[in-house]
């Protein structure tokens, strides 16, 4: 079982560039999430989805977009990268509240 798979693991972006962080899960979970983790700040929820075709904003959605066309995939889009988006990004899926996390994407915006 692959669980939750995120790609890429590392990325350096220039200010103003755009990119998509990929996330896929093979557990048929309805709930999926994107978090960012900054040092000493815990996890901040960016967006989440309760099923294919349904997404909603979390605590810190500005500068990001998501889509959920299938149960398996939940990509996160950064349109105009800014230094404030330098962070570690985690994708997760959950069932009955138990979350399964990907290994994270370390993004640096310079």
């Amino acid at each position: 079982n692959a669980g939750v798979t995120q790609t890429p693991k590392f990325r350096i972006l220039k200010i103003g560039q755009s990119m998509t962080l990929q996330c896929t899960q093979d557990m048929n979970h309805n709930y999926m999430y994107w978090y960012r983790q900054d040092p000493g700040m815990g996890l901040k929820l960016i967006y989440y989805s309760v099923g294919a075709g349904i997404t909603d904003k979390g605590e810190v959605p500005n500068g990001y977009n998501v889509s959920r066309s299938t149960t398996e995939d939940f990509p996160l889009r950064l349109e105009l990268a800014a230094p404030s988006q330098t962070s570690v990004y985690f994708c997760a899926s959950s069932y009955l509240g138990e979350a399964f996390f990907g290994q994270g994407t370390r993004l640096t915006v310079v």
């Binding site: 815990g42 996890l43 069932y95």
Partner: protein, 116 residues
């Protein structure tokens, strides 16, 4: 809405000493509670969970937690820590029903450092 407070951002403990990491939650409905562990440069993994039943929950690596409804707490304990327990620990809560809302809310984390 639910919220979680982890009062201690950092906890240093000598090896083989006991440890308690504190977690308090706020909710107007019944809840499911979780502790997750994050080892350096890794994602989070489940340590233990409380859904219902016995208020003392045992997890992996010798950890346990006790659900206290009157004090709205879910503290994590281990009687004797090891160097390998050095990690960040997150408490999380979700509504305890499955009527279409199981969004997890995480605390800000407690960094546990084991001193040899």
């Amino acid at each position: 809405a639910q919220s979680v407070t982890q009062l201690d951002s950092q906890v240093p403990v000598f090896e083989e000493a006991p440890v308690e990491l504190r977690c308090n939650y706020s909710s107007s409905v019944s809840v499911y509670l979780f502790w997750y562990v994050q080892y350096p440069n890794q994602g989070l993994q489940l340590l233990l969970k409380y859904l219902s039943g016995s208020t003392l929950v045992k997890g992996i690596n010798g950890f346990e937690a006790e659900f206290n409804k009157s004090q709205t707490s879910f503290h994590l304990r281990k009687p004797s820590v090891h160097i390998s327990d050095t990690a960040e620990y997150f408490c999380a809560v979700t509504p305890g029903s499955n009527f279409g809302n199981e969004k997890l809310t995480f605390g800000t984390g407690t960094r546990l450092t084991i001193i040899p």
